[in-house]
Amino acid sequence: METKTSTSAHVPKDTKRKKKKNPERLMAYSLIAPSLILILAIAIWPVLQSFYFSMFDLKLSDPSKSETHLGYEIDLSRYLDNYPFLISGIDSEIKENPQPELTAIKEDLESLDKQLQDNPKVKENYDLVNDKLLNFEKVDEGTAVVEIDKKLALEISSKAQEAEATLKDLELKDEKKITGLADGLKDVIRQPNFIGFKHYSDQLTDARMWKALSNTLVFTVLSVGFELVIGLAIALLINKAFFGRGLIRATILIPWAIPTAVSALMWKFLYDGQNGVIAKMFEEVGIVNKMAYLLTTDTGAMFSVIFTDVWKTTPYMALLLLAGLQTIPGSLYEAASIDGASKWKQFTRITLPLLKSSLLVALLFRTLDAFRVFDLIFVLTGGGPANSTETISLLAYKYMFNQQNFGTGSALSVIVFICVAIISMIFIRFLGRDLLNDGPGK
């Protein structure tokens, strides 16, 4: 599509060039297409969908809210499981003991049923569902649920409610069965569960969300901060030719390569209040007063989580910075030391400016990773004690998978997404075009 518009938009002056370029361009697009389609389908669309979900009261545990619907709908299989039996029930009551209220209810319901069947779309599914129910076949959601207009929908639910109330007051022979059916009739209408930005306003006024967000920020700032300082120090120290480089490199990579969930569990053992060796060491050194405080107090738990993250990713940070350091030509330092610059001056005037882009890229990816943290905390503390280490991703997970509340969970995950986008934009402003430098390799 794009090739066509772009070639027809401006008349090419150099036809020879155009002939050569055109197949190449087409080829390029067809090579990229599979990846692009996959990315759109598996990453971009789900994010948009999450945003859409976040505006609905979507609860998988509640059948009437398990899907998003914008309009009013009627569940015909429920309706046809109720309405005919209710009518025949009322009929037999009338035979026993004619009361004017009963006849009124019957007439009302019959007129509503007629209105329903007047709609050709409803009528078609009405008969289909009815046949299936009569044959004891399973009716699928798609045919059973039909959209109807708001006025009729509201009328059906209000009449059903009214009927139930009236029936309860009457002396009936089979009262239980009939009121039960009337009660069931109330539930055939599905109201739209679109609620707009209510989840957001609820979350933004919810103390638990703010606590989770501030936990996430504390975790991100502290762990990335420590990782940067310690990582840079290590990188500077090992930036020389020395014996055993390969070994150091492998050592550095191991904590990074082990699944976070596995290392989190490992640390849970080391932090254990009774048998944990690291907990014991911290107690001896005086970092904590009692071994058990590490995982059972809020500051202790936050400290433990950050410490583990620093242990796991500082070496990785050091590795990224080391790679950046090695691209700085040694001649710069020689020249500087001839001019009499001190080590510190060399560091601030040569190393830092030249390391800037590596530093920012490493920081960007580490910050985002820390902000999205899930598995480390899920395994190590589960967000406890008393939600003191609950991060925003963990909170979203809990809403979605422990409470089956996908609407609220999606709203929280959109909040995470927006935060991540803001963080990246800040970094990319500093990085400028460095990151997306495209042009063929030099």
Binding site: S35, L36, I42, I258, L265, V277, L320, G330, F417, V420
Partner: protein, 275 residues
């Protein structure tokens, strides 16, 4: 700056290696302790007089650990092969061919690597559930594309750019088509880069936790990280078995890292370092 490192430097290195490796060493020692020595007064003595392999046997006999390993292998290898294959075409086009919207596409790929997984999980979960793909291998391979594909494209673009352009031009002069050039010239030259990308994608898929936790809840389809994390019971935590399982998972990764450290490092740093 490049002075010969002194004794103090090596002492520092030794301390550094020890600090980084200590948790693993401790777990390794704990894994061969009998259960009684994991608690109580012997909990802090590193060595045991009664080493035992009971924990290792228990991991494979009492827990479906072998199933977890198998699942992780199947899912990670399938994800790696298919994403690296698809990504290599896109990366070639981005690195070598001229077309409109290249920067936009590259920016899109980069931004997708930054997406928080939690923001994609609810629709993906609902779709997979409706398709009946939860608790299946495909149920993880499909969402792992989110992580693996942008990563592969991003890495491969940097690798492809390092291949000298002249070789390709020569092939084109000789009348080779774009596809021929790609398969005959670029592909063999890019093999090390492809391999590096494959290792990194494999590790990323092997370590993934959130999708695996939520999508495959059935024991028969759990992956290793989730399986191990859920070893802990409601009231007791079998530390002996957990230690043994950790060692079993760690050892292959350590071997992988030792063998391919050079490649892994080049892959990790290629995106972040401008030469």
């Amino acid at each position: 700056m490049n002075k010969k490192p002194g004794i103090l430097f090596y002492v520092f290195l030794a301390v550094f290696v020890f600090v980084v490796m200590f948790p693993f060493l401790w777990i390794l020692l704990a894994s061969i302790k009998p259960a009684t020595e994991l608690f109580g007064e012997k909990a802090f003595t590193p060595l045991t007089d009664n080493p035992t392999f009971k924990n290792y046997i228990s991991v494979f006999v009492d827990y479906p650990f072998l199933t977890y390993l198998k699942n992780s292998f199947i899912v990670s290898i399938s994800t790696t092969l298919y994403t690296v294959f698809v990504a290599s075409f896109a990366a070639y086009a981005i690195a070598r061919l001229q077309f409109k919207g290249k920067t936009v596409i590259l920016g899109l790929v980069l931004s997708v690597t930054m997406f928080p997984q939690i923001a994609t999980i609810s629709p993906i979960y609902i779709i997979l559930k409706n398709l009946g793909l939860t608790n299946s291998y495909l149920g993880l391979i499909i969402p792992y594309t989110t992580i693996a594909l942008p990563l592969s494209i991003w890495l491969l673009v940097t690798f492809f750019r390092k291949i000298p352009f002249e070789l390709e031009e020569a092939a084109r002069m000789d009348g080779a088509t774009i596809m021929q050039t790609f398969w005959r010239v670029i592909f063999p030259l890019a093999a090390p880069g492809l391999f590096t990308t494959a290792i990194l994608v494999f590790i990323a898929a092997w370590n993934e936790f959130l999708f695996a936790l939520t999508i495959n809840t059935d024991v028969a389809y759990k992956t290793v990280p989730v399986g191990i994390a859920l070893f802990q019971g409601q009231f007791t935590i079998p530390w002996g078995e957990i230690s043994a399982a950790t060692v079993v998972v760690t050892v292959p990764l350590v071997i992988l890292v030792l063998l391919f450290q050079r490649r892994i490092v080049s892959g990790l740093t290629s995106g972040s370092v401008k030469e």
